[in-house]
Each structure stands twice: as C-alpha cells, then as structure tokens.
C-alpha cells in the first residue's frame, strides 16, 4: 500500500513576536530576507531525501505553494536542481489554494500507487496586510514528503481519504492584489463546518476506523472558527487534536498541514492512526497508519527542533522591509546584477546542486569545480564531489557594512570544508555579535537577491541548527 516513505520539515530561524505587531500572544516564524517558498522547500526536501530507503528513487517532483517565487517558470525545477534529483523527473507546480499542500500529498500517493516515487514539497511565505490577522496569524515554513508504493517500506500508509470541493468566496487574491482578502469568518464557519464533519466521516469510513481509533487529528484551514463546531459531531475528543503550532510558527498556508503532520510523525509509534484535514475551498481528509519503519525513517531535524532553534527578536519594520511591504532607503551602492541565463545554465550543478570537483590525480577538492586543479594543475581530470551536506567551519570572517543587503552587515566568511575545499561565502541566520573563527557551519540554499525579476539562488553557510 502506498504512503509516506520519508518526510522532512523546515521552519526558518527568525520569529517575530506578535506583541511587536500589536496582535496577540506568541510568535510567528518569518522567512529571512534571503528565503522564499522555493528555497524553504529545498531545505525541507533535503531533510526528506537525506536517507532514502533502498529501492526508492524519486521520479516525480511536485511543489505546492500559494507564494511561489515565479508565477511563470517552473519552481519545481529549482527544487529538482537544488536537490540533485535526476533530470528525468516529472515536475509540476501546484497552488491556487492553501489546500494544495495536502491535495498534492494525496495526488502524490495516487502517483505512488501507479508506481511512481514522488517528492512533494509544500512551502509558504505568508504575507498578510499589515496589522491584519493573516499577518499575525500566518507563519512561514515548509514540509516535504517522499511518497512511494510497492517495493518501498513507508513510515505511514494512507488507509483512507475523502475530499469535498466547494465554490465559495472565503479567501481570495487576484493577480495584482498585494494581499489576500477573506470574507467574514462567521460565514466561512457556517459553510465549512458541516462539510468538514461530513468529509471527515467519509474518510474514516474509507479507512474502516472510527474517530476513537485515531491517535491524533490534524486540523488546518483558512478559518479557525470552522473547527469550533467540529469535535462533537465528528466524535473527536479535544485531546486527540494535535497542537497546530499557532503559538510558535503560525499557519504556514499550504505547508501547514504537512508541517503539523510531520510533528505528529516525529512523535508517533507504529500502529498510530493520524487523520489530517484541511479546510479551504472545500475539504481534504487523509488517514494514515504509522508502520514499524517509522523509527528508522525520521529526518535529522524534528519540527520541535526547528521550532526551538530560533532568534525571536525580529523588529517589525525589518520584517516589513524583508517582505517588501515597507519601502526603505537603499544603500549607496549599485543594485546587484541580474544573473544571466547562459552562465547559470553552465554552472547549474554548482549554483543549484552545490557540486564541487575532486582532482583524480592529487585528490584536492575544488570549489567551484575547476577544469584545472588549483594544486596540481591536472586538466579535465576530476570527479564530482557533493558539498551540500559537507561539514564546514569558519576559517576567518568579516562584517561587510558596505555590501548590498536587505540585512546589513553582510557577514562574509572563508569557509573550509572538513573533506577539503574552501570557499568565500556569506553567512546567514547568524548574530553578527556571536560569530567566531572555528564555528561549525552547515550549508543552506538561499535566494541571494532578486534583480530584474530573476531570483538569484545560491548557497550560504549558517551556524548549525
């Protein structure tokens, strides 16, 4: 039976206190100035892809988001390139509703049943109108799943499902609108709650289980009021409902159900049954049963570990500047150059895949890959050396207060990799006052800047999270 073979999550490093926005308790996760939904999807996908079981070779990639960096240009291709998946993959972008994350997961499982192995990554940067509920209640995060069928041992099997689609004006955003709008919540609750109860019941029937058989229920949707009237008619006890991370992350749009499902899997035992429901433009419900494979199938980072690893003093004005909501005085420096298509194409394996080279003659590693070895000058005699997961540390560094950045100073570091090789790169997710020579780093896929509508992706180093 098809199901989730591996999973991964990602919550960015920065949090903004809701009190800083003047909107309630807790904090929300905020993608850094150098992150977007594609780069965060890469981070979550790296978690899910790190240790695939034997026989699982991803042949399909799906990216789900309502905040895709490109509205035309395949974002899933960025994901494919940055995770070094084969070019033979089928790749697709999904969006249009924050239900698309769970819909993509279900579609991925269907494809898995048809013999495919599918990477589904859902990722969201939620930008709400300043001082509105979407801004304070939203959060930025990503989740990724590798879905497989026969021949792969899933950590959780899909045992039941149901869907419902409703033409309703709840949340909407037309091209050109800077922020989504939402109709009065009381209306949405009135429409959605009965649909949720009905669809949930069908999914349980499909799974052949009753509500009391569920270890956890994940409830997610555009309208929290919908869930108030749900537990009683659905036969779900309040303690079955999993914490939705509202106080620590915020609702991460299309990524949110996957993120909370990942947190459920982080703490699940074999035999647990988990229902996931997303209410947006209708309802999707999926029921999973956790298998014995769960103990060997968890990612390096749990959702809880991402949540704990943070800096939570982001200023509201900085946040608004990062999201390009607040205009600001630019540095007295030229705008960065738009990266050019042919050089990016030629450098794809370096720029996206972060693949260096190792000299076949002397064994030296070269970053970026070099045709002529920097040590022995051997020509065109090297093999590919992957670096994305390479252990590395700060050899020396400097704070560059002159360089163009949305978050000055740029911290430039000479980064030496334990397996050899050196590069000069920017640090991110780091406190300039708390950085030192010898600090251990890990690489992270980022959007350096955007110029001429072209997002310039490349890798940076960050302190280990």
């Amino acid at each position: 039976m098809s199901g989730i073979v591996r999973y991964g999550s990602y919550v960015p490093f920065n949090r903004i206190q809701r009190s800083a926005i003047g909107a309630g308790r807790g904090e929300r996760a905020a993608a850094s100035y150098d992150e977007d939904s594609a780069s965060m999807a890469v981070e979550a996908s790296r978690e899910a892809l790190r240790e695939l079981p034997e026989g699982a070779a991803v042949d399909t990639v799906a990216f789900a988001s309502t905040s895709a960096p490109y509205s035309e240009k395949l974002n899933a291709a960025t994901l494919q390139a940055a995770t070094n998946l084969p070019k033979s993959v089928t790749a697709l972008d999904l969006g249009g509703s924050t239900r698309s994350g769970l819909s993509a997961l279900l579609a991925g499982i269907d494809m898995a049943s048809a013999g495919r192995t599918v990477l589904v990554a859902a990722s969201e940067v939620v930008v709400g109108a300043p001082s509105g509920p979407r801004e304070s209640g939203g959060g930025d995060a990503a989740a990724a799943f590798v879905l497989g069928g026969n021949g792969t041992e899933p950590v959780a099997r899909l045992i039941g499902r149901a869907s419902c689609t409703e033409e309703v004006l709840d949340v909407w955003k037309s091209p050109g609108m800077p922020f989504a709008k939402q109709w009065e919540e009381r209306f949405g609750a009135d429409v959605y709650t009965p649909l949720l109860v009905e669809t949930f019941g069908r999914a349980l029937a499909d799974a052949g289980v009753s509500a009391s058989d569920l270890s956890k229920v994940v409830l997610d949707g555009t309208n929290a009021r919908v869930f108030r009237g749900f537990p009683r008619p659905a036969g779900v006890a309040p303690e079955q409902i999993l914490d939705g991370l509202a106080g620590t992350v915020g609702r991460a749009g299309s990524a949110h159900a996957g993120l909370v499902l990942a947190s459920a899997l982080d703490g699940a035992s074999a035999g647990d049954r988990i229902a996931v429901a997303v209410v947006a433009d209708g309802v999707d419900v999926a029921v999973f049963e956790v298998t014995d494979a769960i103990d060997g199938g968890r990612p390096k980072h749990s959702v809880a570990s991402w949540v704990e690893s943070k800096r939570n003093d982001l200023a509201y004005t900085t946040y608004l500047k990062w999201r390009e909501v607040l205009p600001f005085e630019p540095p007295r420096r030229p705008d960065p150059d738009r990266p050019a298509a042919p050089p990016m194409q030629r450098a794809e394996r370096w720029k996206f895949g972060f693949l260096g080279s190792r000299c076949n003659r002397c064994g030296n590693t070269n970053l970026p890959p070099q045709r002529v070895c920097v040590v022995c000058q051997a020509v065109d005699d090297s093999t590919v050396e992957p670096y994305a997961d390479g252990e590395c540390r700060i050899s020396t560094y400097t704070l560059d207060r002159l360089a163009y950045s949305l978050q000055p100073p740029v911290i430039g570091a000479v980064v030496d990799f334990d397996k050899g090789g050196r590069m000069l790169c920017q640090l991110t997710d780091v406190d300039p006052d708390n950085v030192g020579i010898g600090d251990e780093l890990e690489m992270t896929f980022r959007r350096l800047y955007t110029a001429g509508g072209v997002h310039n992706y490349f890798w940076k180093a960050r302190p280990k999270r």
Partner: protein, 391 residues
C-alpha cells in the same frame, strides 16, 4: 623562470599628474588633457614626437579613443589596458617594453579614472554577465580579512593592531598634508582615525583609501636618448608583474597574512635590479595602501620588514617621512586618493619628484632607489606589480 628585465635600458623623461580628488567640474577627458599636457611640457616635447600611447583605465572609457579623441592625437597607436587596481603600472610596463624593443623611440603611458560620477560609495565594477554565485563582498571587506589574521599569527593583540593600522593612516595623511596634489591635504588626529565609522571588520572609513578622480602620465624613451629630452631623467631598474592562480581563495593553507603574488613580483623585480637586501637598498617606496592592513602586510611581502615585524617597524617610525625607509611619502592611496587607472602612474610621479629633488617639503634626503608597488584584486586572488627606479 623570471623576466630578464630591462635594467637601465629605459628612462622616464617627463611626467604629469593632476590633483586627485572630487573633480565635479572635470571629466575624464579633461583630466587626461591636463595630465598629458603637463607631461609633454615636462619632457619638452610636442605631441608629434610621441610614437605610441598606452592608456590605463578600469572603467572611465574603452579603447584608445578614450585618449586620442580628447587630445586629438594624430593617427597614432593608442592601447587601452586594464589590470584591476594595477592598471596604471601596467601602462608604464607595456610602454617601457615597447621602447626597449626598439619598435618605438618615444612613448607615453597614461592613466585616468573618473570615479566620482557614479554616485555610489566605494568602487563599482562592471562584471561580465555571470551566474550570480560570487560572494558579493566589497573591497574593504576582502582586505579586512588581513588584520585579524595577522594579529592572530603574530600574537598582536587587537588593540595594538588597531594602533598599528591607525599609525599607517596617520602617517599617510601626514605625508599627504604636505602634498598640494593630494586629495586630502590635512593631518588627521589619531582619535579621529580610531573613531571613524566602521566599514568592514576592524576597518573604519579612515582605514580606506580615498575614492577620487585623477590622471597621470609619463614620457618614456630608451636610456641612450634620455638626455635629449631631460637633464634629469630617471631610469627603470625593474618592472615585474604577476597574476596569481587564485589559490588563496580556494586552498585551506592560505592564511591571509601575505600576498604570494607580491612576494613573487618583488623577488622578480629584485633579481632584475640586482637588489639583494631591499630593507637596506630601497630608499623609499610608494606601495598599494588601499586599506591600512594592506600596507602592513606589504612591508613584509616586499622584504622591508622580516615576517611578523612590520607592525613593530611601523610603530617605530621606520616608514615615516623622516624614517629609515619612507613609505608612501606622497600620502599614498590613503591620502593622495585612488583613481584606479591613474594610481600606478601617480606612484611613479612621486619617484620622479623625489629622485629629482623636487618633492619640496616631502623631500627625502639623497634617495638612491625607489620602489613602486601596485596591487589589484583581493587577498588570495590578485595581481601585483613592482617597479624599481633610480638615477
């Protein structure tokens, strides 16, 4: 494995140099006309006498037309060249080799840069279309890596390191204050240097060279012809230029306390000039003090100080105007300013003045050999030029 050199075969018989600074009312063309006219006058020649020109500029024009058009040069060869911040020196080297070859009898090397029209802070480059994976770090950030690395390697505490860098800035401004062509002609108090706003790492604004406009030019001929044009020519003893393979940026064994490119170009130049002990034999030097720690490291790479000792020599006043081995007597890039393409020629202009006893208040007593050093790029990834000149 080294250039054979042209020791004493080529002479400089005339020079010109504009004031460096913020020339809001002067274009690159204006600056070129000023510097070249002064050089013609200095050598006592007419434009017709010059057989060929080399023009160095990094971004203030492309092609030889940048020079021939404003000067109305009459159908002569004009080569425009670029080698990062060593561009001006490259104009001298290529022009000198051209007369040495016998292809021309009298040539001119010219450098110009018009930086202040951009409206930006610091330097701006125009890189070819790229893949967007460069680090994006600025020049001060790259050179700031030298200071903590040097301090760490030689056990200099950071407070002392700050004093050393400040002393370099102080000295160069002291010298520039005695130079009517310098961009900044005022001494700067120690406290003001220490308190200047931070730009990168340990470096404040007062650790950075001046961004400026300017132009300089040299008239060059074979040694045997030198006295036809000038009673007091100066002679080229060595010209060395090295482009590194960028090892430092890629190899973990590079420690940011030296420029291997400088070490090699100095070694080559000393062989050409027959110099065995640069600390004793070089009377004075104009070096590439783009940022204060650069000058510190250069003192060791050029052999003026033993390894790990340049900071002491600096504090002891060895490189002061009245010290044993004055460095940047004209104020250097720090105080004279750094219009990229002109800087290498500006360095040579100070040698011209000092060797001929025309440096006025800055005059060094009885200089025998002068050195100019010009660097382009960044630690780990650079080009380096060294010349030795004398009487």
């Amino acid at each position: 494995m080294a250039s054979k050199g042209i020791c004493d075969r080529v002479a400089i018989v005339g020079m010109g140099c504009t004031k460096f600074g913020e020339h809001w009312n002067r274009s690159a063309s204006d600056l070129l006309v000023d510097a070249v006219q002064e050089a013609y006058g200095s050598a006592g020649i007419e434009p017709d006498n010059v057989d060929a020109y080399w023009l160095g500029t990094t971004g203030s024009g492309i092609s030889g037309l940048t020079l021939s058009e404003p000067l109305k040069i009459q159908y002569k060869p004009v080569t425009r060249l670029e080698n990062m911040c060593a561009t001006g020196s490259e104009a001298i080297r290529n022009a000198a080799y051209a007369v040495a070859s016998g292809a021309y009898d009298l040539v001119m090397a010219v450098g110009v840069e018009k930086l202040k029209d951009s409206g930006f802070s610091g330097l701006t480059g125009s890189a070819p279309p790229g893949d967007g994976t460069e680090s994006g770090m600025t020049a001060p950030a790259n050179f700031s890596l030298l200071a903590p690395a040097y301090a760490e390697k030689y056990g200099v505490d950071l407070e002392t390191m700050r004093d050393v860098l400040t002393q370099i800035a102080y000295k160069n401004h002291y010298n520039g204050a005695r130079n009517e062509k310098a961009q900044f002609q005022r001494e700067v108090p120690i406290e003001k240097i220490n308190a200047s706003p931070k730009v990168a790492g340990m470096l404040g604004i007062m650790d950075c060279s001046g961004v400026s406009d300017g132009s300089a030019a040299a008239v060059i001929c074979r040694a045997e012809d030198a006295h036809k044009y000038n009673d007091n020519p100066i002679f080229i003893k060595a010209l060395s230029f090295v482009a590194g393979p960028s090892e430092g940026a890629k190899r973990q064994d590079y420690d940011f306390t030296t420029f291997p490119e400088v070490v090699e170009s100095a070694r080559d130049a000393y062989v050409q000039a027959g110099i065995e002990d640069p600390r004793e034999q070089i009377s004075m030097a104009e070096v590439h003090d783009c940022f204060t720690p650069t000058e510190l490291v250069l003192m060791e790479d050029l052999g003026f100080s033993p390894r790990g000792q340049a900071w002491k020599d600096t504090m002891d006043g060895r490189f002061d105007l009245d010290g044993e081995q004055p460095v940047n007597p004209d104020g250097g890039l720090k105080s004279f300013g750094h219009p990229i393409g002109a800087s290498g020629l500006r360095m040579m202009y100070e040698m011209w003045l000092q060797l001929r006893g025309e440096a006025g208040e800055r005059q060094i007593a009885d200089p025998k050999l002068g050195l100019t050093h010009n660097l382009g790029g960044a630690p780990g990834r650079c080009v380096s030029f060294v010349s030795v000149v004398g009487l």
